[in-house]
């Protein structure tokens, strides 16, 4: 149950309890007083009757009221009713005033001694009217209680909502915290429990952010330290390879170093956490991207088709396709088991890198893009970088793979044609844009 509902219910429950308690106390005290009054009245009347019987005074009289709401009986010791006013059915003998029901009436009965005889005086008051007042009071109390409870419920719900608004705001901000760069949530409320919660949350986010920053800096430092020597080793091994093209050791060393260089470039992209050059989007023909990668990895299969344009950074797109091809080559071990194809799907341009390698288990596919995860087939940093770069291009990286059936990565990017206002139009024929180089002689 939501906290708001619980608080509202608590408010209602509390109100009900308080109202019921107050109502019960008030009602009981009223009933007790009324009882007391009725008994006093009855005792008084009984005293007056017996006094009159004891010493009849001139002019003194006792007249049960005309409404017939009282019953007076003088009963002989034999139990016969000698005198009866109001009702001749003998009333019971009681020690203390007692309530009885008779003929649809509620009577309060008291018994006294009949002076000079061994008989008794029995007097009863009809207390129906008093009981009706009691009932009315009870009904009024219950009605008032219900009303107060309803009002309390409404006020309680509204109040709890007001009290919880800062919490809801904090939660909303917390949900929007960017995991890559966690920032604290804003809160300008009082230093109460919510304030404490926000402080604790912001403290935790801050600590995480600092830790992340420290890790990023460490990664930068490491990459930095490796950068110059790696550039040099890669360069010189390249030169050695040119000099000894047939030496398998040299070839392996040169290729390994090149991979090392690519991986450290990937690490740098991750460490920076953003696209290196977001400044110059270009119209890129994906065929050029794939052909550049194919140049680096001769022997892979190609299925390119016609011009396929997207908007992006050509260097980064090359990095994406290169990583996917490298990945596939590592899985298969031979270039003819890898094919790169271009196609379209509605408004999307699709680069598919397929291999007929061992494929991946469901678990590996599921975790393939996790940062730093390395399953079978060299899945790891490279793929994480790929996905980041593709997402920074507003696209999507997909993976389909199953054991024994090979893997297929798909880079999906919005086609330029879908982004052009006025619809897709191939550049008109005969609109070759060319240039005339400046004449060095004429320029000077």
């Amino acid at each position: 149950m939501r906290l708001r509902a619980r608080l509202g219910l608590a408010a209602v429950g509390l109100t009900v309890a308080v109202v019921a308690a107050f109502g019960a106390v008030a009602y009981r005290s009223f009933v007790r007083q009324q009882d007391e009054q009725l008994r006093v009245l009855l005792a008084e009347d009984l005293r007056r009757v017996t006094a009159l019987l004891d010493r009849p005074a001139l002019g003194a009289s006792f007249a049960p009221d005309e409404t017939g709401s009282s019953v007076l009986q003088l009963v002989t010791p034999a139990g016969e009713v000698a005198v009866a006013v109001g009702d001749s059915e003998p009333l019971p003998v009681v020690d203390v005033p007692t309530v009885i029901e008779r003929g649809g009436r509620t009577l309060l009965v008291a018994t006294g001694a009949w002076p000079w005889t061994n008989g008794s005086v029995r007097l009863a008051h009809d207390i129906g009217a008093a009981l009706a007042v009691r009932r009315d009071l009870l009904e009024s109390l219950v009605a008032a209680g219900i009303l107060v409870t309803l009002v309390a419920a409404a006020v309680g719900l509204a109040g709890s909502r007001g009290m919880l608004t800062p919490l809801v705001r904090v939660a909303r901000q917390a949900r929007e915290v960017d995991p890559a760069a966690p920032k604290g949530v804003a809160y300008d409320g009082p230093r109460d429990e919510i304030g404490d919660l926000v402080d604790a949350l912001n403290g935790a986010l801050d600590a995480i952010g600092q830790r992340k920053e420290a890790e990023r800096r460490f990664l930068l430092e490491v990459s930095h330290e490796l950068a110059a020597p790696l550039t040099l080793v890669n360069y010189h091994l390249g030169a050695v390879r040119e000099a000894h093209p047939d030496d398998p050791h040299v070839r392996a060393a040169a290729e390994g170093t090149r991979e090392l260089l690519r991986t450290s470039q990937d690490l740098l992209v991750l460490a920076r956490g953003e696209l290196e050059r977001p400044l110059e989007p270009r119209v890129v023909d994906l065929r050029d991207v794939v052909l550049r990668v194919a140049d680096e990895y001769p022997g892979i299969g190609l299925d390119l088709g016609g011009r396929l344009e997207v908007v992006g950074d050509p260097e980064r797109l090359v990095q994406v396709v290169r990583n996917l091809v490298r990945n596939a080559l590592q899985a298969v071990g031979r270039p003819d088991g890898v094919e790169v194809s271009l196609g379209t799907d509605d408004d999307q341009a699709v680069v598919r890198v397929r291999d007929d390698g061992p494929g991946m288990s469901e678990e590996t596919v599921r975790r393939a893009f996790e940062h730093g995860f390395s399953g079978a087939g060299g899945v790891g940093v490279g793929l994480t970088v790929c996905r980041r770069l593709v997402e920074q291009h507003g696209g999507e990286l997909r993976l389909r793979s199953s054991l024994g059936k090979g893997s297929c990565f798909e880079v999906r990017l919005e086609r330029l044609a879908a982004r052009l206002e006025g619809g897709a139009q191939e550049p008109s024929e005969g609109l070759q844009v060319g240039g005339v180089r400046p004449d060095p002689a004429g320029a000077s």
Partner: protein
């Protein structure tokens, strides 16, 4: 034809030697190891390109770039300081491109080549019947003169000189209106007027709108 000249500013002697050896195959290359030397050489000699390492022993490479802002040479920054802010600052200060270490020598050569090609700007651009001369600042379609304002001419030149690049309104503003601050929709209006004039002369679809990004003149297939 004279070889293009490159000034290599790099304090790591081994890397400097490797760069020199590679670049000397195609270009004329000179190596210096400090920012001071770089500024002195750049002042007294003409270079086409300055290959500038950001991490120098005596000066911050960014300061060197700032002082070289008015030098006609292109600047290609080399950096191991893998910090986005310094990258962006580098481009802002006036570097034309940059490359992060570690890099593949082929990659560096490609970037250098691209810079050199960019420097070799043609004096006249043609696009079908359209011809734009930067020398006498005229634009003709099928030989007939097309009257353009200075801003319209500069905009058309910008697109033709940077085919394939998508320009945001903001970038166009920066490039075209250096001194004054234009009104909010000035670029849109300018593009619209230029398109109108081109369309009247029979040239359509030269400048296209990329939703959410800006405008582009696409490279045509050769």
């Amino acid at each position: 034809m004279e070889r293009e000249r490159i000034l290599i500013v790099e304090d790591d002697p081994q890397l400097a030697r490797a760069l020199e050896a590679e670049l000397l195959r195609v270009y004329d290359a000179v190596v210096v190891a400090t920012g001071r030397e770089a500024l002195t050489r750049a002042e007294t000699e003409a270079f086409d390109l300055i290959l500038l390492d950001l991490g120098l022993p005596d000066m911050d490479g960014l300061d060197v770039a700032a002082e070289l802002k008015d030098n006609p040479a292109s600047i290609l920054m080399l950096t191991a300081r893998a910090d986005v802010r310094s990258r962006v600052a580098g481009l802002y200060i006036g570097a034309d491109d940059y490359l992060a270490k570690p890099f593949d020598m082929q990659e560096l050569l490609a970037r250098v080549y691209a810079q050199m090609r960019r420097r070799a700007r043609p004096d006249v651009y043609t696009a079908g019947p359209l011809s734009l001369s930067l020398v006498d600042r005229t634009c003709t379609v099928d030989g007939r003169l097309l009257e353009l304002t200075a801003h319209e001419f500069n905009l058309l030149a910008l697109f033709l000189a940077n085919q394939g690049r998508v320009f945001s309104k903001h970038t166009i503003e920066d490039r075209l209106y250096k001194e004054s601050t234009p009104t909010s929709n000035a670029v849109e209006a300018l593009v619209s007027r230029l398109r109108g004039k081109l369309a009247d002369a029979g040239v359509t679809d030269l400048i296209e709108t990329v939703r959410g990004l800006g405008y582009v003149t696409r490279e045509r297939e050769p």
